[in-house]
């Protein structure tokens, strides 16, 4: 057999001469140039869009076609950002408030993810549990869970806990449905294979179900972190003593759209950083995947 492979390998190697080599390098240079040109065009487009949107906004509001009292103005948002970071807010520095919001979102994210993964895998691998709880999960999923924030605040006060809970509830459903579906999609041949080899149910979960569902679970984490931030912010707007949500609701009371937009920018930066970290985690955990799929996912 080994002789087979070696012969086939030698036959497929192209005949290399100096002329062929030159052609090869020429092709490589041309390819690299084409790629550089494409990247340059993409970035030109991206910057163009940013200039168009932000510049247009600034222009329309300065010209008075759009009232900056209601819709804010990019330069005003910038001033507001500078003020937030240099002078702080009525409730302490921006860093303190941001830290509290991030903490709430992060704790909610972790709690919701763990609950979602555990229950998702449990229901996914147990048909009876899935049939019994299926309708209830659907019912709970269809109620507007954001309203639960009011109940949590009434029940647990203005501290961190109600925010964490709301974030966790929002995250739970996203992760749960993905974990559940992921377990359902597991290759039954793989399960049969390890069962025949004598695997216990725990070993089946460890070697097959969980790694297989991991693709689905990780995909859901991107969306889930966004939901965690939303949960924390909404709960803060509903009632809090610290946090970005509180700054937003106060700015709303003062008719100050620029500060609201400034807070949006800050939260967007946090979410992007979290997204980046989740992508790193994804790459580490799913390094076994064929590169084409990972790359096409990166393209967006």
């Amino acid at each position: 057999m080994s002789t087979m492979t070696s012969t086939s390998r030698t036959t497929t190697t192209p005949a290399t001469g100096s002329a062929a080599q030159e052609r090869e390098t020429e092709l490589q240079v041309a390819g690299r140039r084409a790629r550089a040109r494409r990247t340059a065009w993409v970035w030109t487009g991206r910057v163009g869009v940013a200039i168009l949107v932000i510049g247009g906004w600034q222009w329309f509001t300065s010209a008075g076609w759009v009232d900056k009292f209601f819709y804010g103005q990019p330069s005003g948002i910038w001033d507001s950002l500078v003020r937030l970071f240099t002078q702080g807010t009525a409730f302490g520095t921006i860093w303190e408030n941001l830290w509290i919001t991030v903490q709430e979102a992060f704790l909610g994210f972790i709690a919701g993810t763990i609950a979602g993964v555990v229950i998702g895998i449990l229901f996914g691998s147990n048909r009876y549990l899935a049939s019994v709880f299926g309708p209830y999960i659907k019912i709970v999923n269809s109620i507007p869970r954001i309203v639960l924030g009011s109940i949590f605040i009434v029940a647990f006060g203005l501290g961190v806990l109600p925010k964490v809970l709301l974030a966790a509830v929002l995250v739970f459903f996203v992760v749960f449905f993905n974990a559940f579906q992921g377990v359902r999609e597991v290759d039954q041949n793989l399960i049969a294979n390890v069962r025949v080899l004598g695997a216990s149910p725990f070993q089946v979960a460890r070697h097959v179900t969980i790694p297989s569902a991991m693709t689905w679970i990780i995909a859901s984490l991107h969306t889930a972190f966004g939901f965690a931030i939303i949960g924390a912010l909404v709960a803060e707007v509903l009632g809090a003593q610290h946090g970005i949500g509180l700054i937003i609701s106060q700015a709303q009371g003062n008719f100050d759209p620029n500060t609201v937009f400034a807070c949006m920018v800050i939260v967007a930066v946090v979410t992007l950083i979290a997204e980046y970290l989740i992508t790193l985690l994804e790459k580490a955990l799913l390094k076994w995947r064929p590169p084409s799929r990972a790359e096409s996912a990166q393209a967006l």
Binding site: M1, N189, A192, V196, L197, P211, M214, L286, R289
Partner: protein
């Protein structure tokens, strides 16, 4: 561990002597989603002697795979019984390995991890399992590929990984469900020769499902013809080609091979035609 001879290997529970398979009056009915019963196989009786290579040939949908599932203990028979090594199968049979047409490798494990899974599942320490797996990778000609992931390998290489993973526990019984069905002709012949070589070393009892009559005759000692809807055994042929058989591609031209192949084809032809007419009729 890797240096031990097959018959003294004690890593896995069933890894002693090859066990015969005795299937008596096996019937399996399924409940369709509509609540009707569907008989996949009906009253199947066949025997595989210890260490024998037995092929099951038949048209699509004649319950070949269902028969294997009963032998492995993954499914319970509706009637009749399967015994392995003289013991009735209840629950998962020990010392069995499965090989499917789709290469059922773990895409998230490396080649080494895939081969190691067998010993790890029966509780072999990690170091020993790794050593054994490396030895098996060498035996199937994949030394140096241990760190690759399955998607980085060709179809033939993936099959070899699957073969190493199936044989590493030194099974008493090897169940193969069209293992080479998806391979191109050349790779298929190479894999068949390799399988025969490894089988002649370890000598597990083999139940080998295939569509390919040539493959069945070239590899096995016994060929079982099954008919479709419901699946039953139609004929059993013993193949007395001498062993070791060497290169599978060369056997195909031997006179004795052609003679046996022709005899079995007579029996199979009616079945294939009938099954084809049925599906064509259903489609029309």
């Amino acid at each position: 561990m890797g240096d031990q001879q097959p018959h003294t290997m004690t890593g896995s529970p069933g890894a002693d002597q090859p066990a015969g398979i005795e299937i008596v009056g096996l019937t399996k009915r399924f409940l369709t989603p509509k609540g009707e019963t569907f008989t996949a196989i009906h009253d199947v009786t066949l025997t595989v002697e210890p260490g024998q290579f037995c092929a099951i040939v038949g048209p699509t949908g004649c319950g070949k795979s269902t028969t294997l599932a009963q032998v492995s203990g993954l499914e319970r028979p509706s009637a009749g019984s399967v015994s392995v090594g003289g013991r009735i199968v209840e629950g998962i049979t020990s010392g069995v390995s499965y090989m499917f047409q789709a290469d059922s490798l773990f895409p998230w494990k490396t080649v080494l991890g895939n081969v190691m899974i067998g010993p790890v599942l029966v509780g072999t320490p990690k170091k020993a399992a790794e050593k054994l797996a490396l030895d098996w990778l060498r035996r199937v000609g994949l030394a140096g590929f241990e760190d690759r992931y399955p998607h980085q390998l060709s179809g033939g290489m993936r099959k070899r990984v699957a073969m190493a993973a199936a044989l590493i526990n030194n099974p008493r019984i090897l169940l193969m469900d069209e293992p080479f069905g998806a391979l191109d002709v050349q790779t298929k012949a190479i894999m068949q020769t390799e399988l025969l070589g490894l089988w002649e070393e370890l000598r597990p009892s083999v139940l080998f499902i295939t569509h390919d009559l040539d493959e069945a005759v070239a590899l096995s000692d016994r060929v079982v013809i099954m008919t479709s809807s419901p699946g039953t055994v139609k004929d059993v042929f013993d193949v007395d080609l001498p062993r070791p058989r060497g290169d599978v591609q060369e056997i195909r031209h031997e006179e004795r091979f052609l003679e046996i192949q022709g005899r079995i084809w007579e029996s199979l032809r009616d079945e294939v035609t009938r099954a084809y007419q049925q599906t064509a009729g259903a489609a029309a």
